[in-house]
Amino acid sequence: MIAPTDIPSRTNPQETFVLNLGPQHPAAHGVLRIKMTMDGEYVTRAEPIPGYIHRMHEKMGENRTWTQFLPNTGRIDYLSALHYNHAFVGAVERAARIEVPPRAEYIRVITSELNRISSHLVWWSAYLLDLGGFTPLLYAFADREKILDLLEAITGSRLTYCYFRFGGLCNDIDDAFIQGTRAFVAQMRPRLKMYRDLVTDNIILRKRLEGIGPISAELCRKYGATGPVLRGAGIAYDVRKVEPYSVYSQLDFHIPVFPEGDSMARYRVRMAEMEQSLRIIEQALDKLPAGPVMGKVPRVLRLPAGDYCYAVEAARGRHMVRVVSDNKDIPYRVKLRTPSFSNLSLYEEASKGMMLPDALALLGSLDLVIPDIDR
């Protein structure tokens, strides 16, 4: 509704008109603006214009210490804050060669996977909201509250966790958390089945998503799209498997892949991923070793000069942190490679010639978090 109410200028009817979707638009999931050139209901060109929530994370990385940058990471993609914590913490640990105790690594995996489920639940509900279904949002949020309760009890916050520390975690988990998580896993499975019956198998949803917005594996590669977008195009690329970090190599799970490449495939990938996450959580809880949750860390952190990368599989795809150090206690450069940025960049090409509702269905299926694009 931002767009001033100008009259479509079809005085020369050959011309198409421009629809400014956003920055405030229900389908923009925040403040994305998409300049749509429309021919009737058909999109001839959809040009995303990000930057409406650029928050200078990379600049902030250069003017505070390594430790002080940590809270920022939880706010880049606030829906999977722990993954972003993990990537930055991992990069610094890699550079400073800090050993992380195994218990901490297992807890990191458990909390990260809980975070992934909660992130996918938010995506699911927001996507259904895009498609006009309101009730799933409420069901998903009810389930998500259970995850938030668990995470809040151990981290102290509900959304922008700052739980991981260089060398471990800021505090240990307790029995209540373990039991609560097991109970949650047990509850979540029937809920996922209910979601399948209520929404996934629903004819209206299937008709809306099947064959809509096909994205080929080659397109993904050319644009660097990762995560469920790439896996929905038939490529089993998952950082947890390809560049195993933390203790993922010791856990048994598989990467859901759907070859169709349409919105439904991306949808199904995420729904299947939630089940895999539950599996990972169960295994990690079983294998959880005893011991400390904090390794040996120097008091003042100075990283050896050089550049270091650390990639994690965030809920939206490959998130890589590249830190450049010049052997000071503040970073020389922090580069955040965020999945939504690359995933959105293919939108212009993928949405050509679609109808407006389909283009929005495609947009939602990319699962964007706008601050993740703008940083």
Binding site: M1, A3, T5, D6, I7, P8, F17, L19, H25, P26, A27, E41, L128, L129, D130, L131, G132, G133, F134, T135, L138, Y139, A142, L198, V199, N202, I204, L205, K207, R208, M355, L356, P357, D358, L360, A361
Partner: protein
């Protein structure tokens, strides 16, 4: 001229009553919808304004009335103001012919069914005008959608109603109800010996009714996530409130029609309570289903919606039409 002068005053009174009925229904159906949605989603819904939220509609209406009045710049002022009126008045006119009980009908005319459909068709035009007058891109796109949707669903709707007309042989709504006297298998819905596809006809009628009233899953007029607020994007305050009211008035109308045509109207299966109670019971059961459907399904894609009408509903309803004409001829 007896048909003109006999009871104009009574007619006016009845119209006032209908207005009150529609207004009250609209206000409290909104509340019912919000509370119902809450129940479907396991939350209480509005319950802090007044005891259990009973004053919520009052608060909403008072607020809407006290909002600043503006006609946004660039709009077609006359049409912009006219459109809400055009939306709400036909629905009220149509309710005049609905028999709430054997005697409780504002004006029983022998072409009542036709009346409902003819005035119902004004609705489309009003929504279109409101979209056009807003001079807002979202509103115009939405208006174009609403028209194609309504035109597409008018056809199976009329076909279904014609099927029913063959069965009943009259367009007098009260007469149609009278024919369904007795236990509930005498309702048109279950008259399978007249036409074995009668329940299917009812389902088609219900779907078309949802589409004609622009209710989810066919709410193209106000496709929030796509078109901001659709045709209502530029409307504010009571202008918007009237559209809201019209939506619920249309639902009441559609469900009353469904009750009369298929569910036996004021006929009672047991005869315990007076007819009007039975009528309202059936009416609100249908309305509940409408709400239930809305809070269950996602919105259909626009061309799927047209496909549903042209490729599925119209052929089926044509088939039922042929079938019932054949059955009537044979038996």
């Amino acid at each position: 001229m007896s048909f003109l002068t006999a009871e104009p005053v009574r007619l006016l009174l009845a119209l006032v009553c209908i207005m009150a009925f529609v207004g009250l229904n609209a206000a409290y159906l909104v509340l019912a919808e919000r509370k119902g949605a809450g129940r479907f989603q396991r939350r209480p819904g509005p319950n802090e304004a007044g005891y259990g939220g009973w004053l919520q509609p009052v608060a909403d209406v008072a607020k809407l009335l006290s909002k600043q009045l503006i006609v946004p710049p660039g709009t077609d002022t006359i049409l912009f103001r006219l459109a809400p009126l055009m939306v709400i008045s036909p629905a009220m006119m149509c309710l005049a012919v609905i028999p709430f009980s054997q005697t409780l009908v504002a004006r029983n005319i022998n072409v009542g069914l036709l009346m409902v459909f003819s005035f119902g068709s004004i609705n489309v035009m009003a929504i279109m005008l409101s979209g056009w007058a807003s001079r807002n891109k979202y509103a115009i796109i939405s208006a174009a959608r609403v028209v194609s949707q309504n035109v597409a669903y008018e056809i199976p709707m009329l076909l279904v109603v014609i099927t029913l007309l063959m069965v009943t042989g009259t367009m007098d709504l009260n007469e149609i109800v009278r024919q369904q006297a007795g236990w509930f298998w005498h309702w048109n819905l279950f008259k399978v010996w007249v036409n074995p596809l009668m329940p299917v006809t009812f389902v088609i009628f219900f779907i078309c009714m949802l589409a004609e009233t622009n209710r989810a899953p066919f709410d193209m007029a106000e496709a929030e996530s796509e078109l901001v607020a659709g045709v209502f994007t530029e409307y504010a305050g009571m202008g918007f409130g009237v559209f809201f009211m019209a939506e619920y008035a249309n639902i009441v109308l559609g469900c009353s029609l469904g009750t009369v045509l298929f569910l036996g109207g004021w006929q009672s299966p047991f005869g315990l309570w007076p007819g009007v109670v039975w009528f309202l019971l059936k009416l609100y059961a249908l309305i509940f289903t409408v709400i239930w459907v809305r809070w269950t399904f996602p919105r259909t894609q626009f061309y799927n919606l047209l496909n549903l009408s042209w490729k599925i509903l119209i052929p089926i309803s044509l088939f039922t039409l042929l079938l019932s004409s054949a059955m009537i001829k044979l038996f």
